[in-house]
Symmetry: C2
Subunit: 377 residues, 2 copies
């Protein structure tokens, strides 16, 4: 049982119980979350593409289950440990999107493949393919293609063909297709600029697919994309499945992106954090109990959603604190009052917490553990 459950289980279902939560408290607005899940599922269905949403964003079986119930093929996991946690919680159709390397990890991968239906891994190096094959794993493997970021992936079409052949020749392994994740293009703020970048990268992807097809290795699966580029990916239709993650929650980084080209925001902010004013000895600022250990710190300040005058700003004040500064002439919130903030960047934010407090209005309706919290190994 997570500590959040120990502290707050008794509040579930009690009207207005949100205000009794100990803070900082990570919250999910259940109805907004479900609308986000449905909206992305509809958009994909209408475009004729499948979804394999990325669970790195939420690390939570309850959310993965809802995505699969809405039609997703399964979920992506960034790391082997994340996949183990979700598999243990009964989630299937997992694709591990980061390369699995090293004897200890490969042994775990083989064991997971034996117990998790449809488990797939992505590879970008012949030595890694050989190691996975030698482990006795029986599984489908995708070739990861470097989109130019040089983080993971084979360097070019020739390397993709060679690796796909090696997989096919390896006992126990099946070449399932390719992965192509344009990580650095996801957060290009202007739609036209992002679309141009993705069209250019997708032309490259198509050239690699063409080379594979010419070699008799046409990829059945073409997996990639993200929340930032999903509208363009759906339009271009080269992917067979999208690895969208952040749409379930939204955050300040994505609120600042034009996701659709027409200024509409297709998803709602469903992830929030309640922080409490714990020091209030100055007219111009008060201190809340959430700092570096409650929010992602590589993506700027969390925006304030409620509990302080419009135009108030949050500033980090160390590991456990932040300050709320209202505009001149306005009074800051008082000692004990709660301020609600959004995440600067949702993925690293949730990874700091053990559970989601699921709310409808001001009532706590459930607590969902992050089974895969901290699972970077």
């Amino acid at each position: 049982m997570t500590y959040a459950q120990t502290l707050h289980q008794h509040l579930i279902g009690r009207q207005g119980s949100r205000r009794d939560l100990n803070t900082p408290a990570l919250l999910v607005d259940l109805d907004a979350l479900e609308r986000n899940i449905a909206a992305m599922a509809d958009r994909a269905r209408q475009a004729g593409l499948a979804l394999r949403p990325h669970a790195k964003t939420h690390k939570c079986a309850a959310i993965a289950r809802r995505q699969i119930e809405a039609g997703a093929l399964g979920v992506c996991c960034a790391k082997l440990g994340e996949a183990e946690a979700l598999a243990d919680a009964g989630i299937g159709g997992l694709l591990i999107t980061s390369p699995v390397v090293g004897a200890s990890a490969v042994a775990r991968l083989a064991a997971l493949a034996a117990r998790s239906e449809g488990l797939m891994a992505s590879v970008d190096h012949p030595a890694a393919v050989d190691a996975i094959a030698a482990s006795g794993a029986r599984m489908t493997v995708l070739v990861d293609i470097d989109p130019g970021l040089h983080r993971t992936g084979v360097a070019d079409a020739e390397a993709a063909v060679a690796l796909a052949r090696r997989i096919e020749a390896a006992p126990g392994l099946t070449f399932g297709g390719v992965q192509f994740y344009c990580g650095s293009q996801q957060h290009i703020e202007a739609f036209a600029e992002r679309r141009a970048a993705i069209i250019e990268r997708t032309d490259y992807l198509k050239s690699v697919i063409a080379r594979l097809s010419a070699a008799g290795l046409a990829p059945k699966i073409v997996s990639g994309g993200g929340t930032g580029t999903h509208a363009i990916d759906l339009e271009l239709g080269v992917f067979t499945e999208l690895q969208v993650g952040s749409y379930v929650f939204m955050d300040r980084q994505y609120e600042e992106c034009d996701l659709t080209g027409d200024g509409r925001v297709p998803f709602e902010t469903s992830l929030m954090l309640d922080a409490r004013v714990i020091s209030a000895n100055h007219d111009r600022l008060v201190t809340v109990d959430a700092g570096f250990k409650a929010f992602a710190t590589e993506a700027g300040a969390p925006p304030i959603l409620a509990g302080a005058p419009a135009g108030s700003a949050y500033h980090f004040m160390g590991d456990e604190h932040g300050c709320i500064v209202p505009p001149r002439g306005e009074r800051p919130p008082e000692l004990g009052e709660v301020v609600t903030l959004a995440a600067p960047h949702c993925d690293p934010t949730v990874n700091l917490h053990d559970a989601y407090h699921v709310i409808q209005g001001d009532t706590l309706v459930d607590i969902w553990p992050l089974e895969a919290r901290g699972r970077s190994a």
Copy 2:
């Protein structure tokens, strides 16, 4: 049992087992840690001051226990949840350094005071004192004094006296003394500049102590200080106990500080992270499996300690990855090889992990859970 223990328990005591750890793996060099604990204990003993080291840095009962065995009065905890976790693990002499505010938190505080010997809390507001008194808590409370940071603490000597009187008048509460933590001065890199700043702040602290004494409220406890200012705090001798934290581990932020004024580094880096090369498709850089979710991200890049040519740099590449770039003409490490890095800032780094892999040389000798990981509420 933490996942690290599930994965690695069987490796404990096996010669050279460090290389079999799944990565990223958070490591503590046991001998360096014990030398750091002993060195600070000696420095305090020689200066005639006590230690109440800050457990926010390590969040670990095994480390707190060693600090107390070396002579510490107890440990500080940043938040109530951190104190609960360490109390549950049998650690006593806890001082909660952040104000406890709100009905739910105050009820927990009262319950903790009843079961945790010597528990103390710090306060900075009359309403908070009243709430703690009304909860029925029987405990010692310190007045937190704002050192000018405006994060927590009473604004001036007059407010300190008023609050100390209120504590004394409150049923069940005892005024134990004062807390004074100069958070923004800890990382001033140049020793002379830091010393001048601390001398000035300590003069202010002395003036507050004088006012309290004149009012018949001479503080028995004067708690504060940190690793950055400890040498100066020991020299000035105004504190009765130091809240030093980071010295147990060290990190890049503190390596860049002159801690003693004579260029000596009095503590060793005992905290490290092993990361594995999981993608190696370019001559000029390789990718390791540690990113934003393995390291603090508000304090720059982690320095490389081993596993790559001298002069190599680490750059973050998202949540789960980083790249290692060697100097021109040198080759990066190969696929599967391990690179060892230090923390940019130790406190937020450890809070991302569930356990320490305790090593001597290349042998895993123990695994210590971070009982207080994530305990910001």
